[in-house]
């Protein structure tokens, strides 16, 4: 660090987030060119973590845990409910594939665009976000395009107007895209929940959705346990935050084609 003594003290301030404006910009440009100083900064940040340890105090209130988990559950589901698709025709395989492509690309770009806007301040972040966006798009479209994808059509068990759902599940990526249409509207604070029925074991929650005014909805890449083999998919009605196990009888179900 001999050539960098003039930065040594500033790095400590930087690690404490105490450098602003011009001072910070000066150190930023040095850091961009100096791996030794970048490493020293990492060490200094680690040292600040040690200081954090001396904070002892009461545990957070119990409600904070539930508040977080509720917020996380909402975030996991909200971005994955589709905007209204203006395409009138769902029928035919080509129609499905095209609509799915529009929906998933739209969702992916919407989500990554929000992330991008947050990263605009830093050029490095922007480059990383672009790579992530591409990876995200690849990840989302994989279950539609891959020949290994299990395709499931769900039909109503009752005689009434024809709700239909189609699930595209790529097991090796734990990747699931689900589209529904003609879904009957729901009472307030209720939602449909999609379940992955494994070969053995209990149904696995695979996303919560509410139909739009046209009765259409989608679920894109809900969090799923890795590489579960799906025997079937099913839908029940649950409270709008979703349930961890079905609480009502199965409304729609389908097994692989």
């Amino acid at each position: 660090m001999s050539g960098h003594e003039q930065y040594a003290d500033d790095l400590a301030l930087y690690a404490l987030d105490a450098l602003r404006g011009e001072d910070r910009a000066r150190v930023d440009s040095h850091l961009a060119a100096c791996a030794d100083c970048r490493l020293e900064l990492e060490h200094l940040r680690g040292d600040t973590a040690l200081l954090a340890l001396s904070a002892a105090g009461p545990r957070p209130p119990l409600r904070a845990r539930q508040r977080l988990l509720d917020a996380v559950a909402l975030e996991a589901r909200e971005p994955r409910v589709a905007q209204t698709s203006t395409r009138p025709s769902w029928w035919g395989w080509l129609g499905w594939a095209a609509t799915v492509a529009v929906v998933v690309f739209g969702l992916s770009l919407w989500r990554e665009n929000s992330a991008l806007q947050q990263s605009l301040a830093s050029m490095n972040s922007r480059a990383v976000e672009n790579r992530r966006e591409l990876e995200e798009l690849r990840r989302i479209t994989a279950p539609i395009l891959d020949p290994e994808t299990q395709r499931v059509t769900l039909v109503s068990t009752k005689a009434a107007p024809q709700p239909q759902g189609k699930a595209f599940y790529l097991r090796n990526r734990s990747s699931l895209v689900f589209l529904a249409n003609n879904m009957p509207p729901l009472p307030p604070r209720k939602a449909y929940e999609l379940w992955l029925i494994p070969v053995s074991g209990a149904p696995i929650p695979a996303g919560v959705f509410k139909p739009d005014a046209h009765g259409s909805a989608s679920v894109v890449n809900p969090l799923l346990p890795a590489a579960v083999e799906a025997k079937a998919f099913a839908i029940t009605v649950e409270n709008e935050n979703g349930a961890t196990a079905p609480t009502t009888p199965i409304l729609m179900m389908g097994a692989g084609e």
Binding site: D9, L13, L44, T48, L53, A64, L69, V72, A121
Partner: protein, 156 residues
């Protein structure tokens, strides 16, 4: 996420509360830190350090931003730590905390208070210099020396 919360929420909350002195605000920072982690799990590089330490740093920075009513300067993606002890276990954390308190106790009072003003109150070096009536250079050097002292105590 529930497991991460159960493991690390106490340190996040303790740090936030120490900075902010207000349980409601500390709870808000707690929420924000975990939600940020949820949204960008890739921001934390597991190969580089321990999640507990990383969370502690993020939390302190966000809490200071909140305290000083300013915008965050650093994206959580850019916060990388090296070689910090793992704070996951309650026992390990308690031992490390004791050690830190010990080191702080043996530090020269001027150095300790300078470091604490910078860390827990987020005061800038010029604010500290004004407050204690010392030159800027002295304040900066003390802060760095304090951090290095802590580092050495854990390296031995």
């Amino acid at each position: 996420m529930a497991q991460l919360y159960d493991r690390y929420s106490s340190i996040v909350y303790a740090v936030a509360l120490r900075v902010l002195g207000d349980t409601g605000a500390a709870e808000d920072v707690l929420q924000e830190v975990f939600l940020q982690l949820w949204r960008k799990p890739s921001a934390f590089d597991a190969a580089r350090g321990s999640l507990g330490s990383w969370l502690a740093v993020i939390t302190r920075n966000r809490a200071i931003d909140f305290l000083r009513k300013r915008r965050p300067e650093t994206d959580i993606d850019d916060v990388v730590l090296s070689v910090a002890p793992d704070l996951a276990g309650d026992a390990e954390r308690a031992r490390a905390a004791e050690k830190v308190r010990g080191v702080m106790g043996t530090m020269a009072p001027a150095q300790r208070s300078t470091l604490e003003m910078a860390y827990w109150e987020g005061m800038s070096h010029s604010e500290i210099a004004d407050k204690i009536g010392e030159p800027l250079g002295t304040v900066k050097t003390r802060i760095r020396a304090g951090l290095i002292t802590l580092r050495k105590a854990f390296q031995g």
